[in-house]
Symmetry: C2
Subunit: 683 residues, 2 copies
């Protein structure tokens, strides 16, 4: 029977399937959820996918549209000519005839990712970069025929002391008619007390901005009221660049291999940001309801139309209402967004094109908001410690603290900051995406069906677990109710710590050869050892979900990189103990502090002093949006944190090898006493 190699993006799930089955069937086999409301009857059009074309070196496959069955009539209804040209198909119609790389767009994904990028309630001083000023001016007369611009500047000076104002060229175009429409009463939006970027007729009190956090994998946007500082809406989506590679380096490689690579990736993320902005704005509109269209005369057939529901309290914003934007992201995402050559960021000594924060007109970047709006992109610290880390710093302000803090931001890359008000150093470590669930045999994103919590009985070695989207743990459920699909980041951390605590895995990371349980088995061509977490009957994929020796190595590499990084930084700063460990990012939100300590993710610290600070990068973007002084602070901190390139530190290799152990010598982890048995600790 002929097989084809299939890769689904952005999940990265891959495998071989029988030729002739539909894309939906293949997705089910490989554990990818695609929306199919109609049950593959070809009538709902929800299972739209995109066939990527080209040779994908990383996977060793050539994907082409010829590798799917011909176009079907049923698809016409849902896929227009332009989309068809681009290679879109319905998953229920298209049958696999060869190797394929299939991209599942956000809207076709059934179990949408649980994005833990909610805005935290942090204290921010109110001092937005854009402020509103209401003025009334006299109309021109023969005695005083001064121009419109000078007329409003005069009043802005008289009433508010604003001087030497300029005006955005496109805003100037709106001025004469807005002024007359408002009967010489207008509200002016001024950026940084320098430039008029918007003019509206009459008195307006509220104005809005959006803070954006571009992660390698996820993009989040926080729509804020610039007056009340309230977060009105949060939007997130997968970084559309995932199709060019999951990590930073593979995107940089894509740029180096393709003349238009940088431009393509930039347009994709810009389009993504526009989507976030549009969706955020749309959230302020009343929902639409279907009503019968009124008869418009004899013989007119009654039709259903959609109208917005009545109701006050809706802001009904439009994209033109976005008057300010701040962006944080890592240095590579920063460079790709702005179309700055990212090649050198990827090559030692990793210099970025620019550190400084940038103010760019939204129109120059292609963002569809008010034409005069500036985008403020926060500064980069170094090639591998970007504006996202600066965002974390201005949100957490370790430079105002006496305590020695270690701040860990684990995304696809690990970024570390250590220090206090006297000195701060930063570094990055190549954790890779293993801690987030990628690259493991059954690893997956934090989406419904993912195992997020695991307990292993120390005596029986039986496994209990909980999946996202189901409240009851396995021990309280029937096996067929679990519908498990894989393990996400927090589950992996639990698993790793529990396997060690139960003695299934040794300090070295190897499976304990003395351990015997029905969950321990060998499989595959090389007869590799693996441990069963969920039996086939508990899953929706019909296969045992296991963790292999290779998976454990992957996790060890990741945690080793992180631990080693922290350790070398402490040595550099001559710091013996940590007063506080702050874990930022989605990872921090889900991590079990105790488990993190057990597996030796970072040096020892009192458990109560390990804190999750949520999406602190996004909080930093929001702080810079609502308080312009935070932008100055960001520029300052980005130039005053000393970046340490760990890989050139003395003993790096040796320290890294040591750090892969689980965890370390017990004397290095006094706070593990009582959590892990002495027997295990003394291995």
């Amino acid at each position: 029977m002929e097989k084809a190699r299939i890769i689904f993006q952005p999940s990265g799930r891959r495998g071989e399937v029988k030729k002739g089955i539909t894309i939906i069937e293949a997705s089910r086999e490989l554990g990818v959820d695609i929306e199919t409301l109609c049950g593959e009857k070809k009538v709902c059009g929800k299972c739209k996918v995109h066939i990527e074309e080209g040779f994908f070196e990383k996977f060793g496959i050539r994907s082409t549209r010829e590798n799917v069955s011909p176009w079907q009539e049923e698809e016409e209804k849902f896929i227009n000519e332009a989309e068809k040209e681009k290679g879109n198909r319905l998953g229920c119609c298209a049958r696999i005839q060869g190797d394929l790389l299939i991209f599942v767009p956000e809207e076709s994904r059934a179990g949408k990712q649980v994005v833990s990028k909610a805005a935290r309630d942090i204290h921010i001083e109110h001092n937005p970069a854009v402020k509103l000023y209401y003025i009334e001016v006299n109309p021109p007369s023969f005695e005083e025929p001064t121009g419109d611009f000078e007329r409003i500047c005069g009043e802005l000076y008289k009433q508010y002391g604003l001087q030497n104002l300029t005006i955005d060229f496109f805003t100037l175009r709106e001025l004469p008619n807005t002024l007359r429409k408002g009967h010489w009463k207008i509200t002016v939006s001024v950026w940084m007390d320098k430039e008029i970027i918007r003019i509206r007729s009459g008195k307006v009190e509220d104005h809005f901005g959006i803070a954006i956090d571009i992660g390698t994998t996820t993009v989040a946007g926080y729509l804020c009221n610039l007056r009340t500082m309230e977060v009105i809406d949060t939007q997130s989506l997968m970084n559309p660049q995932c199709k060019y590679g999951e990590d930073v380096m593979s995107r940089i490689t894509y740029h180096m291999m393709n003349p238009d690579g940088l431009k393509n990736m930039s347009s994709d993320i810009v389009e993504g940001l526009n989507t976030i902005i549009q969706e955020a704005v749309k959230s302020t509109h009343p929902p639409k309801k279907r009503v019968k269209k009124k008869d418009e005369g004899e013989g007119t057939e009654q039709e259903w139309i959609e109208v917005p529901e009545e109701g006050k309290g809706y802001l009904r914003l439009e994209v033109e209402d976005i008057e300010d934007i701040t962006i944080v992201c890592n240095t590579a995402m920063h460079h790709i967004l702005l179309q700055l050559d990212p090649e050198h960021v990827g090559l030692a000594p990793f210099p970025p094109v620019i550190h400084h924060g940038l103010d760019i007109k939204s129109r120059d970047l292609g963002l569809k908001v008010n034409k005069g709006t500036y985008v403020h992109v926060l500064p980069n610290e170094a090639g591998f410690v970007g504006a996202d880390n600066v965002g974390v710093l201005i949100a957490e302000e370790p430079y105002k603290s006496d305590e020695i803090q270690l701040i860990i931001d684990i995304g696809t890359n690990g970024e570390l900051v250590l220090g206090n008000k006297d000195k701060l150093i930063s570094s990055s470590c190549a954790t890779g995406p293993a801690l987030e669930g990628a690259q493991l045999t059954y690893g997956m994103r934090a989406a419904p069906g993912a195992i997020e919590r695991i307990k292993i009985d120390l005596d029986t070695h039986d496994v209990d677990y909980k999946v996202i989207g189901r409240d009851a743990w396995k021990s309280y459920s029937k096996p067929e109710e679990m519908k498990t699909k894989g393990i996400c980041g927090s589950g992996i951390l639990d698993l790793f710590a529990e396997l060690y605590r139960a003695g299934v895995v040794l300090k070295s990371g190897r499976f304990n050869p003395e351990h015997r349980s029905k969950r321990y088995q060998k499989s595959g061509a090389n007869n590799q050892p693996e441990f069963v977490i969920a039996w086939a009957e508990e899953t929706s994929i019909g296969k045992d979900i296991v963790i292999t020796q290779k998976d454990i190595r992957q996790i060890q590499l990741a945690k080793g990189a992180l631990y080693c990084g922290c350790k070398l930084m402490m040595r550099r700063m001559d710091v013996k103990t940590l007063d506080k460990v702050k874990i930022a990012g989605a990872f921090g939100t889900h991590v079990d502090r105790e488990k993190a300590l057990v597996m030796g993710l970072f040096p020892d610290c009192e458990i109560e002093k390990i804190i999750s600070v949520g999406n602190a990068a996004g909080d930093g973007a929001r702080a810079a949006l609502l308080n312009r002084e935070k932008r100055e602070e960001a520029n300052w901190v980005s130039r005053n944190v000393e970046y340490i390139e760990l890989t050139v530190e003395k003993d790096f290799q040796e320290e890294f090898a040591k750090a892969m152990q689980i965890p370390h010598m017990k004397d290095q982890f006094p706070h593990l006493k009582g959590i892990v048995s002495d027997e295990i600790l003394n291995q």
Copy 2:
């Protein structure tokens, strides 16, 4: 025989022609010169014209492409599909079948206009807004992995003391590769010591800018070396907006009548500016010559190809080499260029949208130059005294003088400034285009064939004259050698003064009924009196060239407006005598000072103190290009010249009526004594 009404633009020549003749034949009849190298054999393609579509209210005609004969095969060779779509035809192929408004593009005009916008040799301090800085930086290392931007900023501070620099977003994109290509040696272009707008590899010494003067009728550009201040090339073309109306008010009306009017007019002038820039840049390339292509093997036919001539000393600039642009123009042209609603500038009390000078990114305006380049548009004084007048002022600097100066800039509109270092007032007067040769029966632009000088014998009343393009006066030529076509501005002034001096025309402007000469005749339906300047045999149009009573009225209105304006301004300033009269613009270059005084164009002044200052507006643009302090000076002067709206002055009507006389009472013109006979003066 059926007739069609034809208007040729931009010359404005119009009349009725027989249906069925070609456009070239019609152009000859109406005195419009269209290039026909091949003698209408349909093989040179030089006579390309554009058929405008629409109803032209001003002329009362509807012009449509159906009013010309069908497309001919011969046209295919010269007019591509896109041009055809736009309504382009060859004048030798297209036959007239109905009313037409035909636009003759610059390149098809046989006798190109003599544009007197040459740059004068004025003193300008060297302090351009854009300056070059050469630096060498160390490549990044692990010890110093600072970003590219900060690396060059550090060096620019160390060597040149430049601080707080920003960088244009698009320039930043060029930075990493330019820096590496130049082996860390680069030349940086910095705008106003604030923003890096260009980066080039290695050491570069020269950089370039262009100063532009947008007149209602003519646009001129001066390509300058920003280091040596040398004018490298001067380019000019007709303002492409002429097709929307010849004067400012008709273009404002076009905007008010057409939703896309403003956008269309703006795109047209932007395209015009791009043409000027491209042509100016092209002038720095070596000319091309035809050479035989080298044989490339057996059987290859030898072909001719064009290659640039060898030779050093050519700058070979590209549009990307334009690093700064300054623009002067009147307020209406300013608003139309920038797409600022010009409606209010045309309505009392005529407030402009903005006075202040503007710095706009060339890309936002659609100018194709270096992407980081700023366009500096000089400030407006008032609705009818624009940035062009500010240009005149910063070139002439009356605010630094003790003498009371009257500065007159006569374009399609008249702009006046009066005063000295203590006070300056400005005003505008509706001279209309009569003084430039438009609107008169045989008026024409200063192009080959135009009468530019006239003498009338006081006894015989015989007329002697000189035409542009021929050195010999009529009295030294055979009649058929003259090939006269019409009268241009300077000729009209001569004519008017001479008719008065000879007693043919009375002080009131009426033909002297006692005057009898064979040149005095009556014609037309109303038996109107007219004076023959050139007999049909001396012309290329086969008709007597005459001046009619109506023509004289037009000139009187224009000169009356100007004189009355000057007079009222003197009254307002309580000035009795003028120390100096400066005449700016092409008009000033050609005007005979004595004749101007005879006709009473402006109040009395010692003849030696009447000075032509050439295209002072353009000089001002150049001054602002080469010396940034002139921009500050311009902003200051634009706000400190008091604008007087003459039409609301006391006695305006009365003064205007008086001013239409030729000239005024002799006691008001002591300097005319000896130039005009007492008999005439004492009429």
